[in-house]
Amino acid sequence: MTLFEAIYVTPPALTAQAPILVVAGPLIGASAAALSPGARTAWMVSVLTAAFALWMSVAVVTEVAREGVVDYALGGFAPPLGIALRIDALGATMALLIASVGLLGALYSGHALSSEVYPGKHGLFQAGYLLCLAGFLGLVFTGDAFNAFVFLEVSSIGTYALVAVGEARDRRALPAAFNYLIFGTVGATFYVLGVGFLYGATGTLNLVDMSVRLAALGDNFAVQAGLAFIVAGLGVKAAIFPLHGWLPGAYAGAPSLVSVFLAATATKSAIYLIVRFVFDVFPTGGFGQTFLALMVAPLAAAAAIVCSVQAIFEKEVRRILAFSSVAQVGFIMLGISLATTGGLSAGVFYLVAHALMKGALFMGVGALAISVKARTVEEFYGLGREAPWSAAAFAVGAASLAGVPLTMGFLAKWSLIAGALEAGALWVVATLAVGSLLTLVYVGRLLEAMFFRVPLPGATRAHEAPFGVLVPLLVMAGLSVWFGVDSSLPESLSRASATGLIGSAR
């Protein structure tokens, strides 16, 4: 982590307050964006706020690297009474990921938004975007079960509206957003129910206090059902296999900035919270891990196969990517449900890799769609020659998705297989192999359409995306390659996350 210390010297007064500033900064920024008079000002507020959040996240990451776990008591009250933020390596990794994607997304929105959202609504849109950012960051930092629900809803309510705004391009965004709202709210309410049972059994909401009391409590129906409700509720948000119905429509209909941000962060933060409950709150080797192995792992395997097949038969590019996301969430959950250090760290590494590649892919689709309103695979024919830079970045993301060597996706798949072999779970290896082959098929179909087909007769010619869109897109794609070559940073972060959660013993 010396890399960061070399680049940044954060004032010590700020470092001490960095955890809360990561969350409070975007909240204040959102109010400022809502107040700002023009689209341009709103965009600048958004970029500055996201940059500030990233700066503070980096400060938190360095602090976590030094201290192991960072605690921050809000309101000056000691944790079981007050709410506390608690950031371990996994939380810091997630914050770094979310804030980076948030900043790239904010930069990207400068040009991309104008073609998809009415100019008069930019201020509100940016405010909603920053609220989502604050919600996800708060979700990964909080050490309180109910506070997590509040931030889950902050991000969700923002997201529902942002997805629905996509109706300006495609009216199907509206029913998709409504569906998302229904499913998401039922999921959040299930989460609240689960937390209610845990509270009823332990009398506390603080996660550390809860884990101590759960260990003393032993097995209890209220606790076990509570976990089941929490995992099911968050499973909706994380799009774990049979609960993913909302996702394809929402990703396909949303404005491209929202698709980018959702694909890279929304499902990921829900997975984070599941991991937090199963490995941190519930005793190691206890009911939580059994539940994950018996209930979630088979569903994850089914997702990896079924949704990959669905992606192959899908016609629309965004929907292909969306189904692919569900399948990839299956991969991540498979790694996590191994419940070994290797499996967990592979899962976290895969999570980061997937966030970066899906971010690049959705940004690429958005960049290509600025000049032509391309939706289906056929409408993407030949775009590779007409908009080479955007298409190249898209291709890098696709290569990472397929697991081509020298990309982050390759290392992710590799470490996942290594983790599964180490744990002796051969069926996981087999599922991964089949799933990866299916991934190759739809990725190949996309790349073929873009680079080896001639445009359909009568199709409008595409132009290269504007500079302001290309830069964040290329940075996002570049990160997939950079970490594919030199993976020391994500590798060390994901290993630290895994050992922080279950210890290095296994």
Binding site: E153, P175, F178, T189, L193, G196, Y199, T376
Partner: protein, 144 residues
């Protein structure tokens, strides 16, 4: 005592929650769905409140122990019970679930407002708020 009596509140709340969930999934009308969702969320709140009730307690607003109100409350209870579970002479119900539910109710109405505004836009874009009719319109669109 018998489970149905000691856990009556919880069982009744389960029936309420499940009614809400049923309304939500059994209808295709978007507004009726939002009603089901609201019912589900409100009833979940009732579970928390049931958790926080203390027998013989009063609302968690500080009462002076020597005031007539406090004495009237204490007169109904066993002094040993008050001494063990009371705070300076008065037994209160647990305030924490109340605080959580205040937040949850607000979240519920926020969701309701956003959901209904989307439903209104759906009506404007599709001319209906029946899920199957929207599906039929969508199926006729190109690219599906």
């Amino acid at each position: 005592m018998n489970f149905v009596v000691t856990h009556f509140n919880y069982l009744a709340v389960i029936v309420l929650m499940m009614t809400g969930l049923y309304v939500l999934f059994a209808t295709g009308n978007l507004i009726k769905r939002m009603i089901g969702l609201a019912l589900f969320q409100t009833s979940t709140a009732l579970l928390y409140i049931s958790l926080g009730k203390v027998a013989g307690g009063t609302a968690a607003i500080k009462i002076y122990p020597d005031s007539p109100e406090a004495q009237a409350l204490a007169a109904q209870l066993d002094p040993a019970y008050v001494a063990q579970f009371g705070v300076s002479g008065v037994v209160y119900s647990n305030p924490l679930p109340h605080v959580l539910i205040l937040t949850a109710i607000v979240v519920g109405v926020a969701t309701l407002a956003v959901g209904l505004s989307i439903a209104v836009r759906i009506r404007e874009a599709y001319g209906t708020i029946e899920a199957d009719e929207i599906e039929a319109v969508r199926a006729r669109e190109p690219g599906e």
